[in-house]
C-alpha cells in the first residue's frame, strides 16, 4: 500500500502544486493527469524518492520511503521520460543490465522472451544507437516483463508507441493489476487499462 500525504513541489522558484495526496492499494491504478509543465513527472519522481518533496510524506507499507529505501526500492519499477539505454550496447545487453541492476538476475533467454513479448525480438542484437524512438521505448518497457516488483511507476509509457505496442502494454498492465500489483501512470493518450480500482489525480497549472 502506497500513501502520499499533503505533497508540495517547488521547481526553480515556482510552486508547482501543493496539498496533493492519495492512497493506492493492491490492484489499484492511478492516473496522474495535467497539462504540460504542471508537475506530473515531478510528482512521479517524488514517489520514487528521486526528488524530495517540499512538504509532505510518502509511505510504503506504512513506513516512510525515505527511511526505508531498502524495503521500498526492490518493490518499485520506474520507467521515466528517459529510456535509460546506452547507445553502444545492444537492446539485449541494455535490458539485461537494467534488470540485473534492479535486482532481477535474468538469463539471456528470459531477456529475449521479454523483448519478443513487446515485439522487438528481431532488434535484440542491434545497438540502441540505430533503433528508432519507438523501438527504444519498447526496449525500456520490456523491463515490465522481467520485473517482480509490485509497484510500477510509468511516465508516459505510451509516448512514441504505435497502436500494436500500446495494446500489448495495456494488456500487460491489466495482468499486473490482476495479480495484485499497483501502477501509477501519466499519459496524454486515452488507453483502456483493466484494474480493480482506478483513480485519477489531476494537477492544475
Amino acid at each position: 500500500m502506497l500513501i502520499a500525504q499533503d505533497l508540495a513541489c517547488v521547481r526553480g522558484d515556482r510552486l508547482l502544486f501543493k496539498r496533493v495526496g492519495f492512497e493506492l492499494s493492491a490492484g489499484g491504478l492511478l492516473y496522474v493527469l495535467g497539462e504540460n509543465g504542471t508537475g506530473k513527472s515531478s510528482l512521479l519522481r517524488m514517489l520514487c524518492g528521486l526528488l524530495m518533496p517540499e512538504q509532505g510524506e510518502i509511505f510504503w507499507q506504512n513506513k516512510k520511503i525515505k527511511e526505508n529505501a531498502e524495503n521500498y526500492l526492490p518493490n518499485l519499477t520506474y520507467i521515466g521520460h528517459l529510456n535509460g539505454l546506452k547507445d553502444d550496447l545492444t537492446a539485449l545487453e541494455n535490458l539485461q543490465i537494467s534488470a540485473r541492476l534492479a535486482g532481477n538476475d535474468v538469463t539471456d533467454k528470459q531477456t529475449l522472451a521479454a523483448l519478443s513479448a513487446i515485439g522487438i525480438a528481431r532488434c535484440a542484437n542491434l545497438p540502441a544507437r540505430v533503433l528508432s524512438q519507438g523501438q527504444k521505448r519498447r526496449v525500456a518497457l520490456a523491463m515490465l516483463w522481467l520485473t517482480q516488483s509490485q509497484l510500477w511507476i510509468l511516465d508516459e509509457p505510451f509516448a512514441a508507441l504505435d497502436v500494436a505496442a500500446t495494446e500489448v502494454l495495456a494488456t500487460r498492465l491489466g495482468e499486473h493489476m490482476a495479480n495484485g500489483g499497483m501502477t501509477i501512470i501519466t499519459t496524454h493518450q486515452d488507453v483502456a487499462i483493466n484494474a480493480r480500482n482506478t483513480q485519477t489525480l489531476r494537477l492544475n497549472a
Binding site: R122, C123, N125, L126, V130
Partner: protein, 54 residues
C-alpha cells in the same frame, strides 16, 4: 651472401633484439591492421543484414 650460418643471421651481430623486434613489430602491426579490417567489414555486413531483415 652475408651470413656464415643461420645462427649468425639470427644473432644479427649481437643486435638481435633490436633488429628482430623492429621487423617483428612492424610485421605484427601491419598484419593486425589487415585482420582487424576483415573483422570490421564482416561485422558491418552482419549488422546491415540484421537491419535488412526488419
Amino acid at each position: 651472401m652475408q651470413w656464415a650460418s643461420w645462427s649468425a643471421f639470427f644473432n644479427m651481430g649481437g643486435y638481435a633484439f633490436y633488429v628482430w623486434f623492429s621487423f617483428g613489430l612492424t610485421a605484427l602491426c601491419l598484419i593486425w591492421e589487415v585482420l582487424a579490417l576483415r573483422k570490421r567489414s564482416q561485422q558491418a555486413l552482419r549488422l546491415s543484414q540484421l537491419l535488412a531483415q526488419d
